[in-house]
């Protein structure tokens, strides 16, 4: 195996990771980055307080920041991929500057662009997104490589004072699609109705 294909052998599996993070967290507000992480959270259970992105690549972290600032009493999870994060790295610096304690960013890092043919991303090379997040000034960062790491990271992701950015290294695998609704207005309205009540839908 060439060095840049090392993620073929990583032990953690993305669907299992997404399920472990979200299981039983009924109050969690979730922004899922486009592509595989949107399918992952949907496989764990489609819910009104998930906002799965079908586009807007590079926008998941910034969107989660806006939500976290607007809802400071609620935990916000951005779960997204390495390619999606790489497209919007500056948002990590903006998160650090605003420093919302209720925001957790989880990068499901398979070191590939999963939706376009599993081409390697920069994280298959020298780029360390947790180090990028730390250098941006995000106070709680880490890299999760196995189940023992994940067991330790889960309470941090769910309840530590943040902002948190954990990079979870997962196996590069091609999986069946588990698709959430794709109508953006529906996704928006169901989220606002569940969070803010029926009057919030215009």
């Amino acid at each position: 195996m060439s060095e840049d294909r090392r993620s073929d052998a990583y032990p953690l599996l993305r669907r299992d990771v997404a399920r472990q993070i979200t299981e039983g967290q009924d109050d969690l507000l979730v922004i899922a980055g486009l592509g595989s992480t949107a399918w992952d959270v949907t496989a764990a259970g489609d819910r009104d307080l998930n906002f799965p992105l079908w586009g807007a690549m590079g926008g998941a972290v910034a969107m989660g920041l806006g939500l976290a600032l607007a809802q400071p009493e609620r935990r916000v999870l951005v779960i997204t991929g390495d390619g999606e994060t790489l497209m919007g790295l500056g948002a990590l610096a903006t998160v650090a500057m605003q420093a919302p304690a209720n925001l957790s960013i989880v990068v499901i890092d398979n070191e590939r662009y999963g939706e376009t043919g599993m081409q390697i991303t920069h994280t298959a090379g020298a780029t360390d997104l947790a180090a990028v997040a730390a250098a941006c000034g995000i106070p709680v960062t880490g890299v999760v490589r196995d189940q023992a790491h994940l067991d330790a990271a889960l309470p941090v992701i769910i309840e530590a004072s943040g902002p948190v950015c954990h990079v979870i290294k997962v196996r590069a695998e091609k999986l069946d699609f588990v698709l959430p609704p794709k109508d953006g207005v529906h996704l928006k309205n169901r989220f606002r109705r569940a969070l803010l009540g029926g009057e919030a839908v215009i």
């Binding site: 992105l53 079908w54 807007a56 690549m57 926008g59 910034a62 806006g66 939500l67």
Partner: protein, 195 residues
């Protein structure tokens, strides 16, 4: 080049300078923000918006969020809206180009998104690198699905700012107010007379 850098730095000092030269339309935008309950203002620092940005930073009810690129503001304010907060995005015409793909988020989901754009490349512009976005920002926004209007005189700003916010928050869509370069004091200051 030196003439460019130093005067711009002084303009960026913000409200005091604007007040000194009698340009106060930024206050009309700020008043419109307050009247419509804007709670978050996102921006990439900009000379033309400097006094408005200062006012937003100083306001206890507005969360002012500086960005590294304007497209992040489109996503940020979509997230804010999901959480029940109204926002507005400030940018220069060059920032419009940075936003185009991210506007698909607001377009597809019909997120309310009011934008306030200080134009360059329109009026005594000395930097030709500003011409392309100055020429195309309005058309590009329209093509991306944004309703636009242009304030070409200071008295236009108050009603147009209110209309832009209303189209975003009552109409439920993307609306932009383009502020013609002739409204901005940058060129006057570059002449060196301070008036």
């Amino acid at each position: 080049m030196i003439l460019f850098e130093k005067p711009r730095n002084k303009v960026i000092l913000g409200g005091d300078y604007w007040e000194a030269i009698g340009v106060d339309w930024w206050q009309d935008i700020f008043d419109a923000f307050k009247a419509s309950g804007v709670a978050m203002v996102a921006y990439v620092p900009d000379a033309g918006h400097s006094a408005l940005i200062d006012a937003c930073v100083a306001d206890n009810e507005i969360r002012a969020v500086p960005l590294t690129t304007e497209e992040d503001g489109v996503a940020l304010l979509a997230g804010a809206w999901l959480g029940g907060a109204r926002g507005a995005l400030l940018m220069q015409s060059s920032g419009v180009g940075n936003c185009i793909n991210m506007l698909s988020l607001a377009a597809t989901c019909r997120f309310p998104l009011p934008m306030f754009v200080t134009m360059r490349g329109q009026w005594h512009e000395f930097n030709p690198w500003q011409f392309p976005m100055g020429r195309s920002a309005d058309a590009q926004m329209n093509t991306a699905g944004v309703e636009t209007m242009t304030a070409a005189a200071a008295e236009d700003v108050r009603p147009m700012a209110a209309a832009t916010l209303d189209m975003a928050y009552s109409g439920g869509g993307m609306a932009a107010l383009l502020l013609h370069q002739k409204l901005s004091p940058v060129k006057t200051f570059e002449a060196g007379d301070g008036k």
